[in-house]
């Protein structure tokens, strides 16, 4: 009996130490993505994590000659999880903002990004803060769009959700009047669905400022060496055409 206990203890300890060893070895990387954000990262019919970000992450690993594990992570905990060393990189179409820069280091930009409202097809095209006074706007909590709406649309009611897909459900149900999200995500994810037939992009594209300076890969601030490797790998993917061929799998336009 005692031996059996000892054996279990050793097993548990071994499992723990391998977890910690994994965090310190540069060539054994763990990558977090979101997993509920089609077409960037989502779980396919077979239960496999897939999407543009997942393909990019795998290509980066190949370029860095690293062995990678990609995992799905709730958005509002994704930065704390990185700093808690649960994973080493965030490849999740994350917008670069001043506020996030205080927490994490960012790679060079790997994608341009724009935000746009989605609403009923017959909704008025004016989406200025005054025009949307009293309207209910759905947004993902902790997203760049959340920061932008909170600062710019004080007269609207901002409703915050865990996931963009939850905002979409409530837009269909009529609990919110509009949603603000990444334009490409809405265009290729939500607006392609039959349930969304009566919805469309509304108003102009928004970029810059609180909406960030494009998307980048997030790392811990003390991982300077890894940052160099990631930046070099991004250059490699763009130079050898991998970046464009992955993009062509999902979109008929360029992302950068």
């Amino acid at each position: 009996m005692i031996n059996k206990h000892k054996f279990t203890t050793i097993l548990v300890c071994a499992a723990f130490s391998s977890v910690f060893a994994g965090a310190s070895q540069a060539k054994d990387l763990r990558i977090a993505t979101e997993g509920t954000y089609a077409p960037w990262s989502f779980v396919d019919a077979g239960g496999k994590l897939t999407g543009w970000d997942v393909d990019i992450a795998n290509a980066l690993c190949e370029a860095m000659k690293a062995k990678c594990t990609i995992m799905a992570q709730e958005w509002d905990g994704i930065i704390p999880g990185l700093n808690a060393r649960k994973y080493d990189l965030i490849v999740a179409s994350m917008g670069v903002t001043e506020k996030r820069k205080q927490q994490v280091a960012f790679s060079k930009k790997y994608k341009n990004t724009a935000s746009q409202f989605v609403g009923k097809k017959d909704a008025p095209a004016d989406t200025s803060p005054d025009a949307l006074k009293g309207k209910r706007i759905g947004v993902q909590r902790g997203s760049i769009q959340d920061a932008y709406l909170t600062a710019t649309y004080p007269k609207s009611e901002i409703v915050r959700y865990d996931k963009t897909t939850d905002v979409e459900l409530d837009l269909i149900a009529g609990r919110v009047d509009l949603l603000l999200a990444n334009k490409v995500t809405s265009m290729l994810g939500f607006l392609k669905r039959p349930e969304a037939a009566s919805f469309a992009l509304v108003g102009p594209e928004y970029t810059g400022g609180l909406l960030g300076e494009g998307n980048a890969i997030a790392l811990r601030k003390d991982d300077a060496k890894l940052l160099e490797e990631v930046n070099a790998a991004i250059d490699t993917l763009i130079a050898n055409g991998t970046y464009d061929s992955i993009t062509r799998k999902y979109f008929d336009f360029k992302l950068m």
Partner: protein
């Protein structure tokens, strides 16, 4: 290690969620109780037509996670056009009422089980004596059985109150800014889940401990008149604790 400044800054923001947590808990408990009383009588009834559905309801509700019940009412019902175009939509549109309905129906099942157990513990002779004195069934229940059963049920119901206060945190999953919702918003602004959730946990702890202390006082007050009943109540609570 622990950033006290973040905790101090988070505290007033989190307190703004306490009011909603309190309102949710109170309305859920009232709604649950209103359904639980007839449900408990049905559960104890001899007729299979009453006993069967009541038992099935309690059995099903207790077997399904409350988070799913909240999602079913909020996202599930919102999916149907006939509900969206019905007169009930203003209620189901509002996440506040969705939580009250989902968790109220949930609390009703547990509360009914507590009340049914307490009703069974009231000695049968009291019922017969009251009827012999010419009291109607309704008068017997109201004047004799329910007051006694209430004392017996109180310790176990105390548990249900505490569990309901904590269950209101599920409201944060459907956009409400209750204490947990306020904490999650604060985390997304500060990126400091440890400090913020710890502060929120401390606030919940203060609420539940105070409640439990108040209820213990109430229990003591009621039990002085009848120590025999208090003894049974303790047994009932032990039973409930073993079941939990």
């Amino acid at each position: 290690m622990l950033d006290l400044q973040i905790m101090a800054e988070a505290f007033p923001n989190l307190l703004q969620g306490v009011g909603l947590t309190g309102r949710l808990a109170i309305l859920i408990l009232i709604f649950g109780m209103v359904i639980a009383i007839p449900l408990a009588y049905a559960r104890n009834a001899h007729s299979a037509w009453l006993h069967g559905p009541a038992s099935a309801y309690i059995f099903v509700i207790r077997g399904v996670p409350s988070l799913l019940q909240v999602f079913l009412v909020y996202y599930g019902l919102g999916q149907f056009e006939f509900i969206r175009s019905s007169a009930l939509w203003p209620i189901f549109r509002d996440p506040f009422w969705c939580v009250i309905i989902a968790l109220g129906l949930n609390s009703a099942a547990y509360t009914a089980e507590i009340i049914a157990g307490a009703l069974r513990l009231v000695p049968k002779g009291l019922n017969e004596a009251a009827r012999a004195l010419g009291l109607s069934w309704f008068q017997t229940q109201r004047k004799i059985i329910i007051p006694l059963a209430a004392r017996l049920a109180l310790p176990a119901y105390e548990n249900e109150i505490i569990l309901t206060v904590k269950a209101t945190s599920l409201a944060s999953t459907i956009t409400l800014l209750d204490l947990t919702g306020a904490a999650r918003l604060e985390v997304s602004n500060t990126f400091a889940p440890y400090e913020v959730f710890l502060t929120a946990g401390a606030i919940y702890f203060c609420i539940t401990t105070t409640l439990s202390w108040l209820l213990r006082k109430l229990e003591q007050r009621l039990s002085i008149e009848n120590r025999g009943v208090a003894q049974k109540a303790r047994e009932l609570r032990l039973g409930a604790a073993a079941h939990a």
